[in-house]
């Protein structure tokens, strides 16, 4: 094998309960269908992990997300990460009890970075994923966005992930706001800079359009995992296709 690290292929499902949705540039939303049905299909097709992101993330809609997670957990037996509007240990515990294995936090962590430390201490670093929505501001810099990619923060992405690692985040989910939903490929520079800056695993998300995008983000970018949504939900590329392709390129992935 050319490249010996085990790369995880993650099916990403953005939720506006009770629906699975898809957006472009993290706004402009289209309903795709029933999240559980898609989740189960991706699981059966070989997704290594599932990622549920609650796009609405309001306090009042939390129960619907918990229900979706619970129902999915009774059919899907690979690791599940859930994010969107998580603000406290209580939120985390509810989702873990419902069946989530990891949780992703963004807005609440930017507003109060110590939350990362608190959650990491309580639940373990491997349970805490820092979700970063990154928008390019200059050739080599990116700014972190919060609140579903709507609000700018002035926070430099690279500095932010370094701080989050120190505070105990176990992984980074890095979404390119510029590329998300476009299928024009991942932001390779963004990934490269981030993987160089921290030791914790990086999940690249946003922009997967073709099979060769997958290779470049892993081999050139150094990503540890690749999350994809658009191509899967619209049946443009299938999980078995990606796995077959990875095998041909000498990239280590779980076969089934």
């Amino acid at each position: 094998m050319l490249y010996s690290k085990n790369i995880r292929i993650i099916a990403r499902l953005d939720i506006k309960a009770p629906n699975l949705i898809k957006g472009i540039h993290l706004e402009g939303v289209r309903v795709v269908g029933d999240p559980q049905a898609y989740a189960e299909q991706y699981y059966l097709e070989g997704a290594d992990e599932l990622l549920y992101i609650d796009a609405v993330a309001s306090l009042y809609e939390r129960n619907s997300l918990v229900e979706i997670v619970k129902k999915t957990a009774s059919k899907v037996f690979v690791p599940m990460t859930v994010g969107g509007g998580i603000r406290s240990s209580h939120d985390v515990q509810r989702l873990l009890d419902a069946g989530a294995d990891k949780i992703a936090i963004n807005t609440a962590a930017v507003k109060n970075p110590q939350l990362i430390k608190e959650l990491s201490r309580t639940f373990g670093a491997q349970c805490i994923v820092l979700s970063v929505d990154a928008k390019q501001t200059s050739e080599k810099t990116w700014e972190a966005y919060i609140d579903g990619g709507r609000e700018k923060t002035g926070v430099d992405v690279i500095e932010w992930v370094k701080m989050a690692q120190e505070l105990g985040a176990g992984e980074v989910l890095l979404t390119s706001v510029d590329r998300e939903g476009t299928r024009k490929g991942f932001d390779l520079d963004l990934i490269k800079q981030t993987t160089a800056a921290v030791d914790i695993p990086i999940i690249a998300s946003g922009g997967m359009g073709s099979l060769s995008d997958f290779d470049s983000i892993v081999v050139d970018g150094g990503a540890d995992a690749v999350a994809m949504a658009h191509v899967l939900h619209y049946n443009q590329i299938s999980l078995p296709q990606i796995k077959e392709h990875a095998k041909e390129k000498g990239i280590n992935v779980r076969p089934e």
Partner: protein
């Protein structure tokens, strides 16, 4: 053999993703019973000891619920016990995480940091999908050969160091080391990975456990 029922009791001691384990058991065709009650545990047809997080915390919780002697008594009945993740690690003599903590001492060996060996480039915790290599050693109460080279989901920073090779039923390769993935002795078995998170092959393994 426990007969035709598919009941399996999961020890509930305030740690571990017991609901995920229970859901996986249901998917595998089993009947999960979650309990911390010593009497219930002692009469279980099969027992699962889950465990996630720090060894010391898990061991303390077991102690706090007076379950250590109960578990040892259960093992004495020769009915099957399966430890998962930290539940597997607790089958050993003890762990060096945060200073020495005693385990159940059912299988000779200790638990130490994965980095206690030379694998410098390995990121800790080790997590992700790894394929296991089933060893020819020992007699096991389950046919493990079919799981050779199959992928399972691991997440851990500490690993088992077994005194006897015959207690190592399967390993996985990471950081230049062969790390114990499945260990066992007589009616006791443990897996470092999470079968309830290892997809179809994990469910299959749980289904096999239900048949013992």
């Amino acid at each position: 053999m426990s007969g035709l029922n598919k009941k399996v009791t999961i020890v509930n001691y305030n740690t571990g993703n017991i609901y995920n384990v229970a859901r996986a058991i249901v998917c595998a065709g089993g009947d999960p019973i979650i309990t911390a009650d010593p009497a219930e545990i002692l009469k279980a047809d099969r027992l699962i000891l889950p465990g996630v997080g720090a060894f010391k915390y898990c061991a303390d919780q077991l102690g706090a619920k007076d379950l250590i002697s109960i578990l040892k008594k259960f093992v004495g009945t020769e009915r099957p016990l399966l430890g998962i993740c930290v539940g597997m690690q607790m089958l050993l003599e003890g762990s060096t995480e945060f200073s020495y903590t005693k385990g159940l001492n059912l299988i000779p060996g200790t638990v130490d940091n994965i980095k206690a060996t030379e694998c410098a480039y390995l990121k800790i915790p080790v997590f992700g999908w790894y394929k296991i290599q089933v060893q020819k050693s020992g007699d096991t109460f389950m046919n493990l050969e079919k799981y050779n080279e199959k992928y399972f989901y691991f997440v851990h920073s500490y690993r088992a160091f077994l005194k006897n090779k015959t207690n190592v039923f399967a390993t996985y390769h990471a950081g230049g080391e062969d790390i114990p993935a499945i260990i066992g002795q007589e009616n006791v078995m443990g897996c470092q990975f999470h079968p309830e998170k290892s997809g179809k092959v994990g469910i299959e393994m749980i289904a096999d456990f239900l048949n013992i």
